[in-house]
Symmetry: C2
Subunit: 198 residues, 2 copies
């Protein structure tokens, strides 16, 4: 299982936003939608062994479960509609228990700390960091957990939680990438483990 936790610092936690203004009034929800796209889409398939957790303002988390997803399309607008649908069900989520809003999409009232803790208990937390080891030199873990931030840097408290949880620290390349591009490169790194020797 590959897990991606993406922090949306300005993203809406209620469904009252317009699909026509994802990059503006909806707090850069476009960034999170592209992360979902990068995490799941192959040319003619969905990556079933992937989970994405969108943590919205450290308050609400939307989970996408690859093996159960049914109505995901690649464009930003339709993914944002799935997120809006999940936010409409947020009052159904009691405590840390998630409520499913559409096949493979669920919402829970959890912030970054519990989401990270749960993911870390199931896999190897890989911190992407400009001072990390070049990814090509690192053996890919079996069940990696990657943590990414939207258009903002990690806040101090988030960076500190991440540093504490991190099992490895890697760098994907010499350039600093958008979160969705980093997910694509991370997948390629995991996909191609041993590929050169095919």
């Amino acid at each position: 299982m590959r897990q991606f936790i993406v922090l949306g610092h300005d993203a809406p936690t209620t469904p009252d936003f317009s699909l026509d203004d994802l990059a503006g009034g909806a707090g850069r929800l476009d960034v999170l939608c592209r992360c979902v796209n990068s995490a799941f889409f192959l040319s003619h398939a969905i990556r079933e062994d992937v989970q994405v957790h969108l943590v919205l303002q450290d308050e609400v988390t939307i989970r996408f479960e690859g093996s159960e997803l049914r109505r995901l399309n690649p464009d930003e607008r339709s993914t944002a509609a799935l997120i809006r649908g999940a936010l409409e069900e947020r009052d159904e989520a009691i405590g840390h228990i998630a409520a499913e809003s559409s096949p493979g999409v669920s919402v829970s009232k959890r912030g970054f700390a519990p989401v990270l803790e749960a993911a870390a208990s199931e896999g190897t937390v890989v911190q992407l960091h400009e001072d990390g080891d070049p990814v090509v030199d690192v053996e890919p873990p079996e069940n990696p957990v990657f943590i990414l931030s939207d258009h903002h840097d990690f806040r101090d408290e988030e960076a500190s939680l991440l540093a504490d949880a991190a099992d490895r620290r890697v760098r994907l390349g010499p350039e600093l990438l958008h979160a969705d591009h980093a997910i694509t490169v991370a997948h390629n790194y995991l996909d191609t483990d041993g590929f050169a020797t095919y």
Copy 2:
């Protein structure tokens, strides 16, 4: 210079489409918008050494020039608005001469063959192919030209033109990727040439 030619088989060639239906009525223009995003965006910068050519229905080509781009944003909707703006200027483009519609964005009445020929004269055409050599085993060329297709496969005539023009044939990984993800991986491959030995 890195060049990406992307073929849009169903994409509109006139500006009468809605920004609210990019993945439907606008012929999957969302795919092309994501390709533009992947080609140009770094975390805090635009890649200036990049050109993207969107070839719409083998009839009209929209060119994005990284060193001159000014109003590009990462979301699909605003990129589609730039494309629509270029299509509004298409009657200003005479013969193969392009007309600029906004800084770094221009339109010309050219199909795939002349666009490929011009790009091939300036760089090394790299064909992405599932039977190609693993990209990690291939020395990156100085001025690569990548050719990608939208959600459809290349048509026979396009595949034949591409095979004739191709200087190298590579595979990015064991999985078949969407065009925009392939651009991201190609950039990473070019960025990281020698990265492991930093």
